[in-house]
């Protein structure tokens, strides 16, 4: 093994070998180094610190069980806690043959177990197979995510077209279905939050809001003369109008395909029962209270609210406040008090939604959450494409850093760790990784404590608009004090830029 791995081979995947015996590490490295980039750790603590920094690029861990400092089981526990185990396969390699040990390791998520003495051929094959399996899985996750998105998109599109056809025939703009969809979703999200036992999930909420678009589908059977009559309907006409809910339901019921589909089932409930009343005085079935499915109960509130706040041939639009008052005051029917409670609490959001002329049917956030939910249920994780892109970016960055003759550094807040480029570490006479740098005596031998504090204060003044900090001080380079300029960029941990992830930067000679 030559220790000098200056240039990183981008084509080779990285295998982390963790074993306290140098001999054992060498033997494994020897078997694998033709095909893989080998990273070595001599105990569990080292392994965890390597994983902390580089878990995105490690393709596989070969893990010994009995080690000082931190043993294999403890490493597995950390990998579980940090969820690294979901993306990094672990092959346990040990002479340990006590059943309890092996069982515990499997329970903690190891993919394979190789017993010593091993043969070189099997080790290589099992490593290749395990990595291929995981790579395939990552790709599959990406494919599944794409397909879910495509499917959602086409379903939404079809339902949109269908509900718009119905609406245009009613002489409405098509906005009604969009509004009902949004209001339904907002109320249901509140409901799920207030009543966690309701069984509502992100995906059932999406199904109900989407199905809500079909609530008036039965109106296609109502003559236009009645539908678009400007004046009051006669009793006879109103009786015909009222058939739209049961007609819509039977249309959905008689679909020869998709009858078991949750979307169709929900659309059926909504279509049939969105004119039922909580007191049992609605139509067509005079259902009472919670005999009316929650989906239909929520859509009926949403339907009434949007009808009140929209202009119709026979009425003007009421204001948001007036509409809420009318509904809560029982002027437009009786509703489930829990849903009215949700309506009240989401009043501000509803008001904003009302101002939207067109809305995305399924927000990107919704798609993401649904995807996550489905992926979680299938034991899959982050879409593979994203992960691969990230891996590539990290590999490129590492490579460029390794060949640049510059003092570059990265500082991460959590855990506090300073990483210096290989070249930089040599120039400064420091190790490449320094944990808890603010209290590191080694670091103070290169930069004075005062300068370090000033630098840290300067960095903390960085804002999202002005994330770059420049600071000048003396640094010991190649053993001599030199006046230098440090330029660094603050990296934010979250989208709203309230938390700092750390900084990246470079040292320039200012003399």
């Amino acid at each position: 093994m030559s220790g000098e791995n200056f240039a990183v081979d981008l084509r080779k995947q990285k295998v982390l070998i963790v074993d306290d015996s140098e001999m054992n590490r060498c033997m494994l490295a020897d078997i694998l180094e033709d095909d893989y980039d080998i990273v070595q750790a001599k105990n569990g603590v080292e392994a965890v610190s390597i994983l902390k920094e580089r878990h995105f690029e490690i393709a596989l861990v070969m893990l010994d069980m009995v080690m000082p400092e931190m043993d294999g089981i403890e490493v597995l526990e950390v990998m579980n806690k940090q969820q690294w185990i979901d993306n990094i396969p672990v092959i346990m390699i040990s002479v340990e043959n006590s059943a309890g040990y092996i069982e515990r390791a499997y329970n903690l998520g190891v993919t394979d177990y190789i017993k010593r003495p091993y043969d070189a051929f099997s080790v290589r094959r099992r490593v290749i197979n395990t990595i291929m399996l995981y790579t395939n899985q990552k790709n599959l996750v990406g494919l599944v995510a794409d397909q879910i998105y495509e499917k959602e998109k086409s379903t939404n599109l079809m339902i949109n077209i269908l509900s718009h056809v119905v609406e245009f025939r009613n002489g409405e703009s098509g906005l009604h279905v969009i509004h009902v969809q949004n209001i339904t979703r907002i109320i249901l999200e509140k409901y799920a939050e207030k009543y966690p036992d309701s069984g509502l999930t992100e995906s059932s909420i999406a199904t109900i809001s989407l199905a809500s678009s079909l609530h008036d589908i039965g109106k296609i059977s109502i003559p236009e003369s009645i539908l678009n009559k400007p004046g009051k309907l006669t009793d006879e006409e109103f009786a015909i109008m009222k058939t739209h809910s049961s007609v819509g339901a039977s249309m959905l019921e008689s679909l020869s395909f998709g009858s078991g589909d949750p979307l169709i089932k929900t659309a059926y409930e909504i279509s049939r029962w969105h004119h039922e009343r909580h007191d049992g005085r609605g139509y067509p079935d005079r259902l009472e209270g919670d005999k009316i499915p929650l989906s239909a109960q929520v859509v009926s509130v949403a339907d009434v609210y949007d009808a009140l706040t929209s202009e119709r041939v026979y009425k003007k639009a009421f204001s948001h406040e007036k509409a809420i008052d009318m509904i809560l005051g029982g002027e437009c029917g009786t509703f489930n008090p829990k849903i009215l409670e949700c309506l009240k609490e989401t009043s501000d959001i509803l008001k904003d939604t009302l101002n939207l002329t067109a809305a995305e049917h399924l927000s990107p956030r919704g798609v993401k959450n649904i995807t996550e939910e489905i992926l979680k249920n299938n034991d899959l994780d982050v879409p593979g494409k994203t992960l691969n892109n990230l891996e590539n970016e990290i590999a490129k960055h590492k490579f460029l850093q390794s060949i640049s003759r510059e003092i570059q550094f990265e500082y991460g807040n959590d855990p506090a760790m300073l990483n210096i480029s290989e070249f930089g570490a040599k120039k400064l006479g420091l190790p490449e990784n320094i944990s808890d740098p603010k209290n590191s005596e080694q670091l103070m031998s290169v930069i004075s404590k005062e300068s370090l504090n000033e630098l840290s204060e300067a960095v903390y003044k960085a804002t999202f608009e002005q994330p770059v900090t420049e600071y000048e001080c003396d640094l010991k380079i190649d053993g001599e004090l030199k006046h230098c300029k440090i330029i660094c960029l603050t990296i934010w941990a979250d989208d709203d830029h309230s938390r700092r992830d750390g900084v990246v930067g470079k040292v320039f000679d200012a003399e």
Partner: protein, 132 residues
């Protein structure tokens, strides 16, 4: 090159009473076997085992014996590995100091291990090392 070198790697395995075919079957390349056998004296696990026993640091002794067992199995030093394995099992409950110290077989096993270790080391010293 040291004086008295005269064995090749196969002869070495014969000398210590082990099966060369077994190790070459697993590690595949003679050069690889040779490299590790020559590296074996650098591995300080056996010294570590003896000194840890002396210092009554039984957890460290357990790990050392465990490591020896693994390494030796990989090199097909099977009879040495067998003794190391017996020692490993006797030290597995390393917190039970009383049981370890009253174990009458342990000293005998350590003596046997030392003997086998010495034999392996003396054999390695006689191997004609290939030109590096």
């Amino acid at each position: 090159m040291k004086a008295g070198n005269h064995m090749n790697i196969k002869e070495f395995y014969n000398f210590i009473g082990e099966d060369f075919n077994d190790v070459i079957g697993r590690l595949r390349a003679e050069s690889r076997v040779c490299k590790y056998v020559l590296k074996f004296p650098d591995d300080k696990s056996f010294d570590n085992l003896l000194s840890s026993m002396k210092e009554k640091n039984y957890s460290e002794a357990f790990r050392a014996a465990h490591t020896i067992k693994g390494t030796c199995l990989n090199l097909s030093f099977n009879s040495f590995a067998a003794v190391a394995s017996e020692i490993t099992e006797k030290l597995r409950n390393f917190n039970d100091t009383a049981a370890i110290e009253s174990d009458t077989e342990l000293d005998g096993l350590l003596a046997e291990a030392s003997e086998k270790y010495a034999k392996i080391i003396s054999g390695i010293e006689q191997i004609d090392a290939p030109e590096q």
